[in-house]
Symmetry: none
Subunit: 222 residues, 2 copies
DNA sequence: TGGATATGAATGAAGG
DNA sequence: CCTTCATTCATATCCA
């Protein structure tokens, strides 16, 4: 998904091989200053965009006013009940529900896509190891995630319109039942090809606009 | 061969100007293929980072994906959402959520009472079929309704003493890091700090590779 | 008009 | 794997 502009390299990596416009001959493997400048610009642009996104993100994600504390592991929070009172009791520990970070989710999704079926134990281990780079996670989490993911995506049932729709303009619709939820992105390397050389002047809004990124999915169950 | 330099700069525009490490001398204004490759990687990294941030941002911001998942049923009333189906993508900012009609609600309640147990799938189907006579509804709706009904009635007995009440030991929690649903945010920003400014030199494989796949599935069981 | 509450839906985890 | 529960999110609705 994530349809990027079809524009491919606007800084021809190609032409750099064929000629040298600054006069000095350069063999394959070098590029002109101009070309280099273009690349530099692109990097700068990305840097800026990243920065902006980061700022934007920060401003948007405000912390919750009356939230209770979280445990340092980042995986859960304090339990609302039993706090004071009781004797030496394991403070935290109560209910720590793991929540994947967006990065983790993306990775999980991409893995999920490449092959159906729940990964075996070894694979789970690997995945967990990899994901731990992006946040707190355990093998059980990974296991559960795949179980749930699979089970839930399987409910695609026809929303059996149940007739009586009174639907005057009810278009065919027919839920596509793509069930691939957001971020599907092919976690492959090839996926970055499209975005390798986008127009440097694209702005933040451009990046954010492809927001709906959902392949779609909803209504699971039965 | 990628030596992991500890470099931190966000755009290595400098070094590409200074030397040619592949031996071939190149005048100012050109760069070796290797250097160019480095730049290209950096760009790719930024592209990916931007993408990640964008995704992250989307997941955090209030509106979320869900494009056409739910079948257009507005229950008793219509929900103001886009119409023109011809246009491919438009902003579906409002999620339409099912709302039982009063008739449906009555039926649901009565069913709920007669058998507090959980209706199984078959039962759900029947109920949905019946209720569809009184308005749009899906099995999922019925399922969710019972789920929620049961869960909430059960929770009625536990007056959540959360906040609001001068919680004596409440605020003791002290925020260490906020995680929760918001994935990162506030202090959590550090959680994806590693993808924000990874070492440009090797960030790519870290960010993009995961297509190694392998294996077959066997028993996993944790 | 903004907060409090009700409620549909999403999802991690537990049981079987 | 499938079902169920518990918790949480996002909205709709209400009220002052």
């Amino acid at each position: 998904m994530v349809k990027k502009k079809k524009r491919r390299k606007q800084s021809g990596e190609r032409e750099m091989e064929k000629e040298s416009q600054n006069g000095a001959y350069v063999g394959r493997g070098v590029m002109t200053e101009e070309q280099m400048e273009t690349l530099r610009k692109q990097i700068a642009v990305y840097a800026v965009i990243c920065e902006q996104l980061a700022l934007l993100h920060n401003s948007l994600s405000s912390f919750h006013p009356l939230s209770s504390g979280m445990n340092p592991n980042g995986g859960g929070y304090f339990d609302p009940m039993v706090v004071a009172s009781s004797s030496a009791h394991q403070r935290i520990s109560t209910r720590n529900r793991w929540t994947p970070t967006s990065t983790q989710l993306q990775i999980l999704e991409s893995i999920y896509e490449e092959r159906s079926g729940t990964p075996n134990r070894r694979r789970i281990r690997e995945i967990a190891a990899e994901l731990s780079e992006h946040g707190q996670i355990t093998e059980t989490n990974v296991y559960n995630w795949f179980q749930n993911r699979r089970a839930r995506s399987k409910r695609k049932q026809t929303p059996h319109t149940t007739t009586t729709d009174t639907g005057p303009a009810e278009d065919a619709a027919v839920v596509t039942t793509d069930e691939k939820r957001s971020c599907g992105d092919s976690g492959g390397f090839e996926s970055y090809e499209h975005i390798l050389f986008p127009s440097p002047d694209l702005g933040i809004e451009h990046l954010l606009s492809r927001g709906e990124l959902s392949g779609e999915f909803n209504s699971y169950r039965l």
